[in-house]
Symmetry: C2
Subunit: 201 residues, 2 copies
């Protein structure tokens, strides 16, 4: 029941590719201007697509924002979390995660720096699925950090620490370093390393 | 050269009062939705004023935003910084500043929590007078914290510390606690106290 001569599977594959192109660009925009800076029309213009085509793929601004948040998570996992999983858990993996996180913010992977540092403050005071998704991702990251601290303490690599408190501190200085980098402060990465080493001794 | 029957000084005083009413409301809005959520029209509607009246007082959105940032700074100084200046400098004042900061974020003074935590991430990747103003205020806060650490170390209250690094850490955990409070995480204030006490021993 379609006039499009292309077979259904090819059309679906093309739709999925276009979706990826759009959400990947949306992550970059949202890292700079926040998820509220996104709109179906703006992304269509940026990418030379028709607004109706973008609207067909995402339907609402909120669906677009949620897809963007998920794309950011995938890119973060690939750049920071997965490569560190080759390193033994505990202090070594914590250092590896930290180094990869510093590169992620410093290079940076997204032009506006850390996606969650840019967007959590915008949504922390609102209720809804976007805040829930961002919070779930943030908690998962804190949990990963706490697991490494717990492992390091259990293995006797470091003195006993409150793992959740240590993860809170590590995440706090990473986020503060991301801000410092954006504001042009020098040596933010070095500050992070010194705090982490202080916690690990 | 005016048809307004009110004397000039009374009109100026009335203008100043209206300006304060507008910027104080604008701080609340910007703490929730960011400085970009502000517009002359929106504030006029919220406060039952004419848009042209608001436009006469602020001229541009950027002027309104800059006045809002300055009003937020004044309110912060009054709630957190000035009351702590009665406490002796060093460890005691650092603890007092921390307690007042926790109240400022927890009560909260602005409905969206810390004004700088809400707005620095939005402007950290842009150039312009707003980013400059927010950065200047942030640096001044970091400087105040570092001064207390330096004083505490000089007075032998605490072991020698890198004062700038300690200030970076303290500000980082305060900002992380503000986010945790907004996200409904329990005991964020208590986490801050434990980190500060760890730094002060």
């Amino acid at each position: 029941m379609t006039t499009d001569p292309m077979p259904v599977d090819q059309r679906l594959a093309r739709g999925a590719r276009t979706r990826r192109t759009i959400t990947r660009h949306a992550v970059d925009v949202a890292s700079m201007e926040g998820l509220n800076g996104l709109s179906l029309g703006r992304l269509a213009t940026d990418l030379g697509l028709s607004k109706s085509g973008v609207a067909t793929l995402f339907r609402t601004k909120e669906q677009l924002q949620l897809a963007t948040v998920e794309t950011a998570r995938e890119a973060f996992l690939e750049a920071v979390v997965r490569p560190a999983s080759d390193t033994p858990p505990g202090a070594a993996r914590l250092r590896e995660l930290t180094e990869r996180w510093i590169s992620y913010a410093e290079q940076p992977l997204f032009p506006g720096g850390c996606f969650w540092a840019a967007n959590l403050p915008e949504f922390d005071s609102r209720t809804g699925p976007l805040r829930d998704a961002l919070r779930r991702q943030h908690r998962s990251w804190l949990g990963l950090l706490a697991d490494q601290v717990r492992h390091a303490a259990d293995a006797g690599e470091i003195a006993g620490l409150d793992a959740d408190l240590a993860a809170f501190q590590i995440d706090a200085v990473l986020t503060a370093a991301n801000l410092a980098m954006r504001l042009g402060e020098p040596r933010a990465g070095e500050k992070v390393r010194r705090v982490i080493e202080g916690l690990l001794t």
